[in-house]
């Protein structure tokens, strides 16, 4: 790659930052140069983010319909999947899947909820609140955080 071929595609996925890439100048000499985005790479990042957002939206809708507990959409919101959440919490995946059932989630002990709270970086109270019935919840809309 030559210096003038280093892409500057202003990708939003870089969050206004620049990455360093290595490229050769006219004499074939290597230099580090900042790049503020490359379109194919940004497309790949966006697709991965959209995939997680889509999963989160689906799980959120299922939670609102009362088919799933809040745990599943929280998992996706914090960019985790079942194997990753299992590794972080030290729980078996089948237990986590069981906790996706609203009735089971309602009966979870604070000790188990604390593990999830730690994995998501949320206060325990937030997870306990999701144990209440949904109607109470819609009164104090949970604000969505940036990540």
């Amino acid at each position: 790659m030559k210096l003038d071929e280093v892409p500057q595609d202003h990708s939003s996925t870089y969050g206004g930052h620049s990455k360093l890439v290595y490229a050769v100048d006219a004499d074939g000499h290597y230099q580090g140069l900042q790049s503020d985005g490359w379109e194919p790479e940004a497309f790949a990042t966006q697709l991965a983010v959209e995939e997680l957002e889509g999963l989160e939206a689906g799980a959120h809708a299922a939670w609102q319909r009362g088919e799933l507990s809040a745990l599943k959409f929280l998992m996706y919101r914090y960019r985790l999947d079942e194997p990753a959440l299992a590794q972080i919490t030290g729980l078996w995946q089948w237990r986590i899947r069981r906790h996706f059932r609203p009735a089971v989630y309602k009966g979870l002990s604070p000790a188990i909820l604390a593990r999830y709270a730690d994995a998501f970086g949320l206060p325990l109270a937030d997870l306990t609140q999701y144990q209440q019935s949904k109607s109470q919840h819609s009164n104090n809309q949970h604000t969505k955080d940036p990540v």
């Binding site: 360093l20 290595y22 290597y30 580090g32 790479e41 790949a44 194997p83 990540v147």
Partner: protein, 332 residues
């Protein structure tokens, strides 16, 4: 620690090592640190899954660079992990108060100075702490343009994030870096080691054979599985470009190393190899563009055969280059 100079790098681990060595009095560019540690590789690991996708790596596993480079240079690497997060914080404070530069392994997800789009659960990120002020740490994160600051609680959470590749608060620094080095021996040894990793492993997932393996996987993609194919192909692109590789999955960085090494030794054959690797890197970039193009076209059914063929061509080129470099490294 006012004398510390932050330098932006393409990759976190090589950047941290280059900064640590330069600060210790042995001037070291990032490509040089990467090359001397024999960081270049290729691996396709179907057993290790990242959000349901196989692990595709263009470099050696985390911590390999740190360990290999300090061993080859004869520097003393001090590493420490902690079973209790509080101990980790105290040890970091003690090191910083003692005027040390401390390398830290951390998660990307919990570092608030990363833009949200870049925050994924990757626990093997490396950064340098060079001081603290009040409740904040002064951080030289190699992939950022400028030094950053991070609140103590956030850094603590990032250092002790659990999950795959958990850092357990890993902290490291270099002692007794020998300032006199036998560059000829070092460069030959590290180049030979890279040729053995890329072309000499009896495993179908590592090195050139790994690239061929990936080619057949791409060819076998079922055109009907549109969604999976899109995620699979972009996953490759992300592993190659997004995670900070200096472009083309570290190929450009290694080419830069070959050039610098050639100048150091006054050896034209390394410059020739650098030119070849630059061309290979350009092919990797085109491969990435082709992957994304195949994901974009919604109308026509994508044809994966040409993409697989371009990968096979890259494998042939890399094998040829490794043969030449191997012969060079063994020549006296």
């Amino acid at each position: 620690m006012s004398s510390f100079q932050h330098r932006q790098s393409a990759h976190c681990e090589s950047g941290v090592m280059a900064s640590l060595l330069t600060h210790a009095g042995l001037p070291m560019s990032e490509p040089m640190a990467f090359g001397l540690a024999s960081g270049l590789a290729f691996a396709y690991l179907p057993i290790v899954k990242l959000s349901g996708m196989p692990l595709i790596a263009y470099r050696m596993p985390p911590k390999y660079l740190i360990k290999t480079l300090s061993k080859r240079l004869g520097a003393k690497l001090h590493t420490q992990t902690f079973s209790k997060p509080e101990q980790g914080r105290l040890a970091l404070d003690a090191a910083l108060d003692g005027g040390r530069l401390a390398g830290l392994q951390s998660s990307v997800f919990w570092l608030p100075y990363f833009p949200p789009e870049m925050r994924f659960h990757f626990n093997a990120h490396n950064l340098l702490a060079y001081g603290r002020e009040g409740n904040e740490y002064l951080i030289s994160d190699p992939v950022f343009e400028e030094p950053v600051r991070c609140a103590a609680e956030d850094l603590q959470k990032a250092r002790f994030a659990k999950g795959a590749l958990a850092a357990k608060g890993l902290m490291y620094w270099l002692d007794d870096v020998p300032l006199e080095q036998d560059w000829n021996r070092l460069i030959r040894q590290s180049v030979l080691s890279t040729t053995r990793i890329l072309d000499g492993m009896p495993l179908p997932w590592i090195g050139v054979r790994g690239i061929q393996h990936l080619a057949s996987k791409v060819e076998q993609l079922d055109p009907a599985q549109v969604k999976y194919n899109r995620l699979y192909l972009t996953h490759i692109v992300r592993m190659q470009e997004e995670i900070g590789t200096g472009g083309a999955g570290f190929r450009f960085m290694y080419a830069s190393f070959l050039q610098e090494a050639g100048e150091k030794l006054g050896d034209a054959s390394l410059q020739e190899a650098s030119v070849q690797l630059t061309a290979i890197g350009d092919n990797w970039r085109q491969f990435a563009s082709a992957c994304v193009r195949a994901c974009r076209s919604k109308t026509e059914a994508p044809n994966f055969a040409p993409i697989a063929d371009s990968l096979r061509a890259i494998a042939v080129q890399e094998r040829g280059l490794m043969k030449e470099l191997g012969a060079w490294a063994k020549r006296k």
